[in-house]
Symmetry: C2
Subunit: 328 residues, 2 copies
């Protein structure tokens, strides 16, 4: 099985790559080849049980997507995107990458010919939803994004469903909760602070909280996100019927609950490294975001999380990223 | 006030044009100029109280949309589309016109500069919804189109909302019920038979019914459709908030109820001109279509229909299209 990962240099892409390298298989199939793509050169893994190629390119440039699918990968993970904050600040760039790039990829698959019909796993986002919301967002709630990023993701979902319905590909779209705790350096996502206020204090550093403690949001660990991707790549897509885009399960928690979990797992001193500096731009964006979901269909279709509580989310970070230790 | 009508040669475009010519005003503003665009030359009206230009072009061709908005029309009615059956049969054409054309238009408005921000009225469709449905589709039901046409319209709605949110234009999208009775010749819309089985018998001709009598669907008269467009062009768009795409009110009726209304209004003999010839292609398409709506928001925002019963729909056709007479 040949696997292509688009956006492989990003956080989720790297975690997915590591997991696939470690397991050497996807579902019941042995991996025979992997191609890692990103606009910045993805790290080439040291040791792999199969050939791993890297491709540094922008597939929103005409012709680039065709090259990526020319070798007919069996599974394509499409994780590439301009994140929410940047897509809001740079209208043209967001539409070019998130909409045109996705469509060019899907069209390259469609036009490859010879019965080519790969599984395409597309990471959508809960930003397809916009306030006002019901208490918990169900599987049939409509898409009224309040950001260009969410608009572009919602369009990607529609294209994925139509291209799948017409038999051009076998797509599954998954709306990831906000990933928490996101490792590494902050990126331009407006949701970054949900992770920053946990990750930085655990590393002995101060972190800025730009919103109030009663902001409620929807989270999943990086470990859960990788699990969702693997399941989306191997599940029986026919079971999803025509409704191929799914809200993933997650945990609903307020910023206050996050901080309380941090205190329980790592102590008061760690939590005291959080500094409150309200930011109206971030507050404005977050105001329109989902707070809670009822992800029934995804659960019925076999998607599961790695965590039961926010304490678990923090423990998973300490285990997977910090070698079991934090700065007390 | 300068009004631009895109798709002016189509049935709804012609009716809208006639009404605007007759009234000479839109809301409280006198019409000072009108531009009629279509891919086939729109008829130039004989007598108009203001200058009327026609433009024959395809605005999905790069550069064409810029020319259409160069004179900064105050209100743009975007009615142009490849219809459902044709968009399903010709994938590339449907996406090129319905998606690319719409986006090029919106981008031409966005990039016109100088604070240009016209009201843009976009005709979407109930084909943005896909079965299975609730008993009546509410205002927050999700979009899972089962046709490429519905996919393209759903994408147009998302773009309209995002471009409006960002202040590039002042858009209102309206999901028209299936127009009944559609005058003139049958077009390639899969929904054509809902009108054919009334219009043709009223004209003394036979008509083919390709589905069973228990097929339920959602209808509005051409007179209502024009009324919706005028209201969408003049309403306070701020009242719609960020949710600028609305399901229009209409009438839910089965084919059997349509035929019963025809018998009541025009007699048994007229109704006997309907011939039953099941068509699996049409039946397959119609199976995934909405049957009933609860269009609360549109009603709250002032949209009203011209008919109360299906009998009214037939009477409106006889009045508006047949000069009060039909072939008994």
């Amino acid at each position: 099985m040949h696997i292509l990962i688009l956006g492989a240099a990003g956080m989720v892409g790297r975690k997915l790559t590591e997991r696939l390298l470690r397991e050497g298989r996807l579902g019941k199939a042995d991996i025979t080849r992997m191609t890692l793509q990103d606009v910045v050169a993805p790290a080439k893994p040291d040791k792999a049980g199969f050939p791993v190629d890297t491709a540094t390119c922008d597939f929103a440039v005409p012709g680039a997507a065709e090259k990526l699918v020319a070798d007919r990968p069996d599974v394509i993970f499409h994780l590439a995107a301009i994140v929410s904050g940047e897509a809001e600040l740079d209208f043209d760039k967001g539409y070019r990458i998130n909409l045109d790039g996705t469509r060019m990829l899907f069209d390259a698959v469609r036009l490859a010919g010879g019965g080519y019909k790969p599984r395409v796993v597309f990471t959508s986002s809960i930003a397809v939803f916009g306030a006002p919301f019901p208490e918990a967002i169900g599987d049939e709630f409509f898409h009224t994004p309040l950001l260009s990023y969410g608009t572009q993701k919602a369009i990607g979902e529609l294209l994925l469903a139509d291209y799948s319905r017409r038999g051009f590909m076998d797509g599954i779209g998954i709306r990831l909760p906000t990933i928490c705790i996101r490792p590494g350096l902050p990126n331009k996502a407006a949701s970054g602070f949900f992770s920053n206020i946990l990750r930085e204090p655990l590393a002995g550093k101060e972190a800025v909280l730009p919103v109030s403690e009663d902001v409620r949001h929807w989270h999943a660990s990086p470990r859960s996100a990788v699990g969702f991707l693997l399941h989306a790549a191997t599940m029986d897509s026919a079971a999803a019927g025509a409704r191929r885009n799914l809200s993933m399960p997650g945990l609903s928690a307020t910023v206050g609950e996050e901080i309380a979990a941090l205190k329980r797992v790592a102590g008061e001193k760690v939590a005291s490294r959080i500094k409150r500096t309200p930011d109206p731009f971030i507050m404005g964006i977050v105001d329109g975001w989902p707070r809670n979901f009822e992800a029934k269909r995804a659960v019925q279709l076999g998607f599961t999380t790695a965590e039961k509580t926010f304490d678990d989310i923090i423990r998973i970070h300490i285990e997977d990223e910090l070698g079991g230790k934090f700065v007390a």
